[in-house]
Point group: C2
Chain length 412, copies 2
C-alpha cells in the first residue's frame, strides 16, 4: 500500500522550520508495510492544498497531512478540508471538554481561540488529541483515506501512535518490508564503501543497502522486500552477521540506538561510573549522555572547563603543563581525564581539548584539531584528531569520537 | 520567479534522515526574491526522478535538486540527469585534480570510487565543490534551470553560497519579499495570539504574520510582498516597533539570533562572566552557550552535577539542605547558583534541578518540575516551572528558560 505525506505551512517553504515530522511518520509507516511514495511540502494557501490533494489521491491510497490546525489566523487546513469534502463545521463536545480540562489543569482560562478548536467537519471521524487543542481528522472518499493532524511534532506523534497507526495496521497489504539499521563510527564513507564492496555486490537482489552519513557517524540501512517476513528477517540476520566480520570495531549498535546508550549499557554491566571534563566540546558530551533516560545510574557529572583557570583549579591540571604545552595538548587532556575521575570518584573519565573554531586556530594547532583522552582503571590513553570542519560539526564529531574511545576501552 | 526543490534519496522517504537542506535553501532563495512553490521528496529510483523533473518544470522556472551524488552504488542522480538531458559522461579534469589534492592533504589515497566522481554530463556547467568529491551541475533547457547538488548539508551550502546563489541573483525578478523574524520566549502560543490579535488584524494586506513555535520559543515571522524594498522595510520596521510595545519582555531578539548570543552580548557589555551548575539540564545550557563562537569571552565553565555527591563536594550545597528539601528544591538551586559563582569566580551563575523524566516523578515533584536559579552581583532569584513534557523537551525548555531568566536579570 502506498501513502503520501503532505506538510502544510508557509513556514516550511520559507525555510523557517525543518520538517522533522515526515521522517518520523515515514519510519512508523514503513514498519507496518506502508511505503511512502512522495513527501510534498506546500503553503498555507487554500487552493494549493486542494490541488495537492487532487494530485496525491491519484497516486496513493492513504494521504497524511500535518500542519495548519493551530488556533491562529494563518492556519487554514480545517476550513479547506471542510469545503473539500463538502461538509460543515460542527461542535465536537468531547474535544471541547478535553480542551477545558487541559487549560484548567494548568491554571489557565480557556480563551475563545482555543474553544474554536473543538469545531470539526461533520463528515470526519475525530481522532482525539490529549496533548493539544487541535484534534486529528480522518476522512474517507472513493477508497482513499485522508488524515489531518497538527504539525506540532509531539501532538502528531501521539495521534499517530494512539489513533492512526492502529487503524492503518488493519488495512495494510501483504507486502512486507524489513529494515535493519547498523550504526557505524570511525570509517569515512568512501573507505567504508570500499571495504564493503564485495559484500554489497553479493547481496540478494531483494535486499537494498543505503549509506546514511551524518557528522561523525554512518548508518547503514538494509531493506528487504518480499512476502514472507520470516524469510526476510533470516536473510537480513545472515547479512548483518557477515558485515560484522568485515567491520567488527566500527559497528557500535543496531537500530536507533545512540552511542551514549551503548556506553551506558557497558558501564552498567561493569558497575562503573564515568565523569567528563570538557573543554572544546563545551557540554555536548554530557548532553549526549544525559539525553539517555536513567543515565544517572552510570554518569556522575562533568566539569566544562572553558578557561585555563578552571582546568587548574577544578581539575588539577598543572599550570606548568598548561604554560609549556598549551591547553590543546596530549599532556593537558591526560591530566584532565585523570583529574575528573579523581574529583568525582569514578572509574572512567573522558576529556577533550581542541580548537572548535572558527577563531583560535594556529599553524601548529589548526581549527578542528582536538585532543581526546579516556581514563580507565588500568590506563589512560590520548589521541589527536583533525576534524577540520566548522564549529558545530567539530563539536559533534569530537563528542561522538570521545564516547567511541570510551566504548572501545570498555569492550576490551 | 518560482523555484521548486526536489530532494532525492530513499533515506528521506524511509524516514531515516530529516531533510534539513530544504529549509536552508528556501531561506536563502527567499532572501533574493525567489519563492518556493513546492518541496518534493522522492526516492533514488531513476524513473521517479525523471517524472518529478517533468512535473516540476511545468510549474517552476528553477529546479534545485539535492542528493544522490555520493560515491556509493545507491546514488544514481548523475546517471539519470545524463540520460534526461541526452548527454554522456566525460572527465572533468579540474574536479579530478581537486579530489586528488583533497585526499592527499588528509594523507589518504584516492580510490577509484572517488575518481569516478570527476565524470560529469558533457552538457552541464560544472559547479566546483571544494569540500567534497561530488561537483554541482547546472543545466538549462527550454528556459528552465536545473541545478543538482550533493545532499551532504555542508557541501550543498558551500555550493549554494559560492556558485548557485550568485548566478540566480542575476536572474531574479522585480518582486521583492522582506521577512523579519521576531524571537519570543515565555508566552504560550494561544496567549500570544490573543495579546497580538488587534495588532494582527490591523496589519496591511501585503504583510503576512506566521507563528513558528518550537519547544520553549515562538518565532513570529512578518513577510511583506511588493515591488519597492524600501517601502516594505519601512512598514515592517513600523510594525515591529508596535509589536515591541505590546510584548516588550518576551522579545529577546530578531532574525536567527539565539538566546545564548543575546545573553553573551549583554554579559560582554557588562564585562561580566557566567558559570553554570546543571543538574536536570545535564550539559544542555553549557552546550547552548558554547555553540556561540567566542563564548569563552563571557562563559567560564560549568559543573554538571548529576549526583548529590557532586552537588555537595564541588558546588558546596549543604548535605542538610539536600536531605531536608531534596535535590529538586528552591533551597538547593539557590545554593548551586551561588556555589558555582564562587568556585568559578564569576559575577553571574545559573543553576537547574528538576525531574526530566520519564522516571523519577512523584506526586509532590512530578516529571517536568524544574527549579531554576540565577545569581547576580546583587541578588539570587529562583523560580519553579512545570514543563510536564517528555525528557527531551523538558531539558530544552528548562535550558532556554534558564538563559531567559539570566537575560532578564542582565537587562535590569
Amino acid at each position: 500500500m502506498n501513502a503520501e505525506i503532505i506538510t502544510i505551512g508557509d513556514e516550511i517553504l520559507i525555510g523557517q522550520i525543518v520538517d522533522t515530522n515526515s521522517a518520523w511518520m515515514a519510519t512508523e509507516l514503513n514498519a507496518i508495510g506502508i511505503k511512502i511514495a512522495q513527501i510534498t511540502s506546500i503553503s498555507d494557501n487554500p487552493e494549493h492544498l486542494a490541488e495537492a490533494l487532487d494530485n496525491a489521491r491519484k497516486r496513493a491510497s492513504i494521504i497524511l497531512m500535518t500542519g495548519g490546525l493551530g488556533p491562529t489566523k494563518d492556519d487554514r487546513t480545517k476550513d479547506v478540508l471542510t469545503s473539500y469534502f463538502h461538509s460543515k463545521l460542527v461542535l465536537h463536545q468531547p474535544t471541547l471538554d478535553q480542551i477545558q480540562a487541559m487549560f484548567s489543569a494548568r491554571g489557565l482560562k480557556n480563551i475563545q481561540l482555543n474553544a474554536d478548536q473543538a469545531m470539526v467537519p461533520e463528515c470526519c471521524t475525530v481522532l482525539s488529541n490529549p496533548v493539544g487543542t487541535a484534534p486529528g481528522m480522518w476522512f474517507e472518499e472513493e477508497g482513499v483515506i485522508f488524515i489531518s493532524m497538527p504539525g506540532v511534532p509531539f501532538e502528531m506523534k501521539q495521534l499517530m501512535n494512539d489513533e492512526v497507526l492502529p487503524r492503518l495496521k488493519l488495512l495494510s497489504s501483504t507486502e512486507r518490508i524489513v529494515h535493519r539499521t547498523i550504526q557505524t563510527i570511525g570509517i569515512p564513507e568512501s573507505f567504508l564503501a570500499k571495504q564493503l564492496e564485495d559484500w554489497e555486490d553479493a547481496l540478494p537482489e531483494y535486499i537494498h543497502l543505503a549509506y546514511l552519513p551524518s557528522p561523525g557517524l554512518i548508518r547503514l540501512r538494509l531493506s528487504a522486500f518480499g512476502e514472507d517476513e520470516q524469510v526476510l528477517e533470516t536473510e537480513i540476520n545472515n547479512q548483518v552477521e557477515k558485515l560484522n566480520k568485515i567491520i567488527p570495531e566500527a559497528i557500535f549498535g543496531y537500530g536507533e540506538v545512540s552511542i551514549s546508550e551503548v556506553v551506558g549499557e557497558l558501564l552498567k554491566s561493569k558497575k562503573s561510573l564515568v565523569a567528563i571534563a570538557e573543554s572544546c566540546t563545551g557540554g555536548m558530551i554530557s548532553h549526549e549522555i544525559t539525553s539517555v533516560p536513567g543515565s544517572s545510574e552510570w554518569f556522575k557529572g562533568a566539569v566544562v572547563a572553558y578557561s585555563n583557570e578552571i582546568k587548574e583549579k577544578l581539575l588539577g591540571v598543572s599550570s606548568k603543563t598548561l604554560v609549556e604545552h598549551g591547553a590543546v595538548s596530549e599532556q593537558v587532556v591526560l591530566q584532565m581525564a585523570e583529574g575528573v575521575c579523581k574529583i568525582m570518584s569514578t572509574e572512567y573519565g573522558i576529556a577533550t581539548s581542541g580548537v572548535a573554531g572558527p577563531g583560535g586556530g594556529t599553524i601548529e594547532k589548526p581549527v578542528g584539531m582536538v585532543w581526546i583522552a579516556v581514563a580507565g582503571p588500568t590506563m589512560t590513553i590520548a589521541k589527536v584528531y583533525n576534524f577540520a570542519n566548522n564549529r558545530e560539526r567539530n563539536i559533534i564529531r569530537a563528542s561522538l569520537t570521545a564516547l567511541d574511545m570510551l566504548r572501545l576501552m570498555l569492550k576490551k
